[in-house]
């Protein structure tokens, strides 16, 4: 005790201070620390929840990005396939059109050849007929003066004989 006294510590005062400290400690614990800790705990929980949600969000975002990339790749593949198909179809269509046009042209040429041949044949026939008609017309004109009464009488005699035989 003397030692404490020598250092200036009064035990009554120390006791009072201890009691004061305990009272204050109790009061603080009772009315300040507990609500404050609860508040801090709630705040920490909210932050943890926020962090967790942020991580989940980031994860979802990453997944969405991966999905988006995948979808874009699929869309690009599909588009490439469509373009390739369209190109192939276009080439095939162009070939078909060309073939059809060629066939049609060939057919038209053949028809034209047949028609030309037919018309040439017809023209030839008409020319032959015309030549024959002119020849016979000339023959008729020249024969008109050749046949006279004598030839007419011969024909009448022949007709009479023929009809007599048939009667």
């Amino acid at each position: 005790m003397d030692v404490l006294h020598n250092f200036g510590v009064e035990w009554q005062l120390l006791l009072a201070q201890v009691i004061n400290f305990l009272v204050i400690f109790y009061l603080l614990k009772r009315f300040l620390y507990k609500p404050l800790f609860n508040l801090l705990k709630k705040r920490a929980d909210a932050i943890k929840e926020g962090v967790k949600q942020a991580e989940e969000g980031k994860k979802a975002l990453d997944e969405a990005l991966v999905k988006e990339k995948k979808l874009i790749k699929e869309a690009q593949d599909t588009a490439r396939k469509i373009i390739a198909d369209a190109r192939e179809h276009g080439t095939q269509l162009a070939k078909e059109i060309e073939d059809r046009a060629k066939k049609q042209t060939d057919r038209m040429i053949e028809e034209a050849k047949v028609q030309i041949a037919r018309e040439a044949k017809l023209a030839e026939q008409q020319l032959n007929k015309h030549v024959a008609e002119i020849s016979i017309e000339m023959l008729k004109k020249s024969l008109g003066s050749v046949f006279g009464e004598k030839e007419q009488s011969e024909i009448v005699s022949k007709a009479v004989k023929t009809l007599q035989k048939s009667n």
Binding site: N128, L139, K140, Q152, A159
Partner: protein, 118 residues
């Protein structure tokens, strides 16, 4: 309607000495209705056609030829027609029988033959 036999009798009565008698024809026609008259005229035409021979030639026939033809058809009336287009030949039509030598037609047949088989 008049039957064929009666009609033939009426047509026979219409002729006197082988010639059509106009008085008889007029008298008969006055007593006929439209339908019978049509049949009577048609029969007369057929009978006239049977009694007539048509001879077509490019020039007039001489008397000897005409006589030869008349001897060939003694009871028929001969009608002569001129057709210079024939060039040379003769066409004799006796009712539905026909005899023909026609140079013009022969030429035309040749032209048709040539144009058909060319």
């Amino acid at each position: 309607m008049i039957n064929k036999k009666k009609l033939q009798n009426l047509v026979s009565e219409s002729y006197k000495d082988g010639q059509l008698d106009s008085e008889t024809v007029n008298m008969l026609a006055d007593h006929m209705n439209r339908q019978t008259l049509k049949q009577y005229i048609s029969s007369l035409k057929q009978t006239e056609k049977k009694k007539q021979v048509t001879i077509t030639s490019p020039r007039s026939l001489n008397e000897a030829d005409k006589k030869a033809l008349q001897d060939l058809f003694p009871k028929k009336k001969i009608m002569y027609i001129l057709d210079p287009e024939m060039i040379n030949g003769i066409q004799i039509t006796d009712n539905d029988k026909e005899f023909e030598i026609n140079l013009n037609r022969t030429f035309n047949d040749i032209i048709n033959h040539l144009s058909r088989y060319d």
